[in-house]
């Protein structure tokens, strides 16, 4: 069952100028400032005088800069750009008891991944993200969204030495994610996004992801907005099953594929809110506002405006920073213009996208 997604109104800015409100957000990762990469290298270098405390300060500085950059772009909810994270599985594996690292493994060519092994029972030790959330919350004037790598991906992208099945490991990890969300909520978090890219490559496991989500949201207040992000896959393999997931919002990447898959979501009726990718995370050109507005209309084929969230396709970290910024800025402009047109009744909600000739 979807959760009641009425919790989106809490993110409407006080000075919001339009009657309609298309919640604007980002998926999470963002290009690091160049000096932060140098700081990361220095901290690895045993001979440098640059300590881990220095690195911590550098991370704080970067989070402050990137959060401010998100606000300047006009987003309604912001992220710190995941400045403290190196990779989406490694970061969490370092924080969960039961994981160990044995060395890099090949992904393709000379690209490697420090794929961790679950060598013992996974357990919750120290909070994973509460400190960084509190820091970002304090420097931000907008609500802060917290992206968390989902338990299915954490299990699927690790070697499993300790559990009978990967499914069992995923459920154990889901219980840990639930504990972490409780702590984030205590610290004031209102918006959580679970990232499950592994589901795109093994879509037949959607029921496992569903069961993970049941565990993740257990006991979490309905005011807390829970999103799920899945990218670069064949959505028809997991739709309509995702309608049964206990989420407020499903965040998809469709701009990259020119919305070829959008019709997948029109039948049967879409359950949760739709967070639609309207700028491409893999092209280094900033889409013009007019083009992004057309992309937003694609989302109105699936859900009414009060259920539509606007987002980039995926994390923007692989782009040059000025391009990433330009995409966010134009995305917000486009959303505000579409809101105005909706207010003025200029958009036909029955056929939002003009039919091709």
């Amino acid at each position: 069952m979807s959760r009641p997604a009425e919790n989106r109104e809490q993110f409407r800015p006080e000075n919001h100028e339009n009657e309609h409100f298309l919640l604007t957000t980002v998926v999470g990762s963002y290009p690091k400032p160049k000096w932060l990469n140098r700081a990361d290298d220095l901290a690895e270098d045993a001979e440098s005088k640059f300590t881990h405390e220095h690195l911590h300060e550098a991370h704080d500085d970067a989070c402050r800069v990137i959060t401010a950059e998100h606000e300047r772009a006009g987003l309604d909810t912001v992220v710190d750009g995941e400045m403290r994270r190196n990779e989406m599985v490694e970061f969490f594996a370092h924080r969960i008891d039961g994981y160990e690292f044995n060395g890099p493994v090949k992904v393709w060519g000379h690209n490697y991944f420090d794929k961790p092994s679950v060598s013992d029972t996974v357990e919750y030790d120290e909070p994973w993200l509460v400190d960084e959330f509190e820091f970002t919350r304090d420097v931000a004037s907008k609500p802060v969204k917290v992206p968390i790598t989902g338990p299915y991906t954490l299990a699927n992208w690790s070697f499993n030495e300790a559990y009978e099945t990967e499914e069992e490991l995923a459920y154990e990890l889901a219980d840990l994610v639930n504990i972490e969300i409780e702590k984030l909520v205590e610290a004031g978090a209102k918006y959580i996004q679970i990232d499950e890219p592994a589901l795109a490559t093994t879509p037949d496991d959607h029921a496992i992801v569903g069961e993970c989500l049941d565990r993740i949201v257990a006991g979490i207040d309905e005011d807390i907005r829970i999103g799920l992000h899945v990218c670069y896959g064949d959505y028809s393999r997991i739709y309509p099953e995702i309608n049964d997931f206990p989420i407020d919002e499903f965040d998809v990447e469709l701009c990259n594929g020119n919305y070829e898959q959008i019709d997948v979501f029109t039948e049967p009726e879409f359950g949760p809110d739709l967070a639609l990718g309207v700028v491409d995370a893999h092209t280094a050109e900033v889409e013009p506002v007019e083009e992004i507005k057309k992309n937003i209309l694609q989302g109105l084929k699936v859900v009414p405006p009060e259920k539509l969230t606007i987002s980039p396709d995926c994390g923007l970290k692989l782009l040059p920073r000025e391009i990433a910024y330009g995409k966010m800025e134009n995305m917000v402009k486009a959303a505000r213009e579409v809101e105005k047109e909706l207010d003025a009744g200029e958009i036909d909600l029955e056929t939002p996208v003009p039919l091709a000739d």
């Binding site: 044995n102 890099p104 493994v105 090949k106 393709w108 060519g109 000379h110 490697y112 991944f113 030495e161």
Partner: protein
């Protein structure tokens, strides 16, 4: 008495220092990967690490020594991605893994290349330097898997393309230096099994390659069990042994196939998991061998090749080396007497 031979399917992980050195020398982009005409400097680095992995295998106590295939950036697609009449397309997924290779698009005749033969020449020389009784093992993709991993833009239909791939591989094998064993890796027979008609041809294609060598030919299948029909056709191939994945969940299907159709007098047993860092003890591995033999009371084996089920490049180097040693030790363990 069954002889047990400790070996590997080949395709090792690059030693960790080599990962950095080679990526600095070659670059990170698609176009920077192995092309078959790399610079002397890059050749020298590969020579160095080839010698290292040969020494490591000798020290681990393996009976067959692989070249290691460290240059195979595109995994089993390598013999085609370095070919002059093949263009490398986009990055595509390698079976069901989180690994990717460059799509080899065959745009012209698959003429003789000699790329793998020159690697084996270097390996034979390095092995001769090592103080070892172990002998050289060659590894190639099986013709059906190479056909399955590639895109044909020249031959026009599946049958001609599969024939061309098998004749290409046969010519490569003819140029090999003396080798005791040839492993043909055929994961596609499991993962993307050939349909009617093509299944018989896949087995004939293996014959074409196997006929090009005097060595013992092992056709290693993995990522699970073969379907009954594909297995029945594979039994027609004139090879020394079929290799089975004894780690995968559907091994009962493998036993069923062998019970129904028999198998060769030798077999390959993939007993150590190449996809997981958990290092099985030699005793556990030996028990897996006994388990197979006990389940097949009617089957007598002259020889069993013991190895990981898959290529070991999925593993971090430390675990890969521990698994090599465990397989070698397992081949020495006295097995409980099997009563027929």
């Amino acid at each position: 008495m069954t002889e047990r031979v400790a070996t590997t399917p080949g395709l090792f992980p690059l030693p960790d220092p080599a990962k950095q050195r080679l990526s600095d020398l070659k670059g990170h982009q698609k176009g920077d990967l192995i092309s078959g005409n790399e610079s002397d400097e890059i050749v020298a680095v590969y020579d160095e690490y080839r010698t290292q992995v040969i020494t490591e295998q000798v020290e681990a106590g393996l009976d067959r020594i692989s070249e290691g295939q460290l240059r195979w950036d595109d995994m089993l697609a390598h013999p085609l991605t370095v070919h002059e009449n093949v263009e490398t397309g986009g990055i595509v997924r390698y079976y069901d893994n989180n690994n990717f290779y460059r799509d080899p698009q065959v745009t012209g005749e698959l003429t003789f290349s000699g790329d793998v033969a020159s690697e084996l020449d270097a390996a034979a020389a390095a092995l001769a330097e090592a103080d070892s009784d172990a002998s050289l093992q060659a590894t190639l993709p099986g013709p059906y898997s190479l056909f399955d991993l590639a895109t044909d833009e020249y031959y026009g239909d599946e049958e001609s393309f599969l024939d061309a791939v098998s004749e290409f591989l046969a010519a490569e094998v003819e140029a090999f230096p003396a080798h005791e064993t040839l492993y043909l890796l055929e994961p596609s027979l499991v993962e993307n099994a050939p349909g009617d008609g093509l299944d018989a041809r896949a087995s004939e294609a293996i014959d074409t390659v196997a006929a090009a060598t005097d060595a013992d030919v092992v056709v290693q299948t993995y990522f699970g069990a073969l379907s009954e029909k594909v297995y029945a056709h594979l039994m027609d191939a004139d090879i020394e042994a079929i290799g089975f994945d004894i780690v995968a969940g559907d091994r009962e299907q493998t036993l069923y196939n062998i019970n129904e159709y028999g198998t060769k007098t030798a077999a390959g047993l993939g007993i150590s998991n190449g996809l997981n860092t958990l290092v099985e003890s030699p005793e556990t591995l030996a028990e897996r061998v006994s388990w197979v033999q006990n389940k097949l009371p009617a089957q007598e084996f002259d020889r069993l090749y013991l190895s990981t089920n898959t290529e070991p490049f999925y593993l971090p180097v430390n675990k890969h080396l521990e698994k090599l040693a465990a397989v070698a030790a397992a081949a020495e363990i006295e097995l409980e007497e099997v009563t027929a």
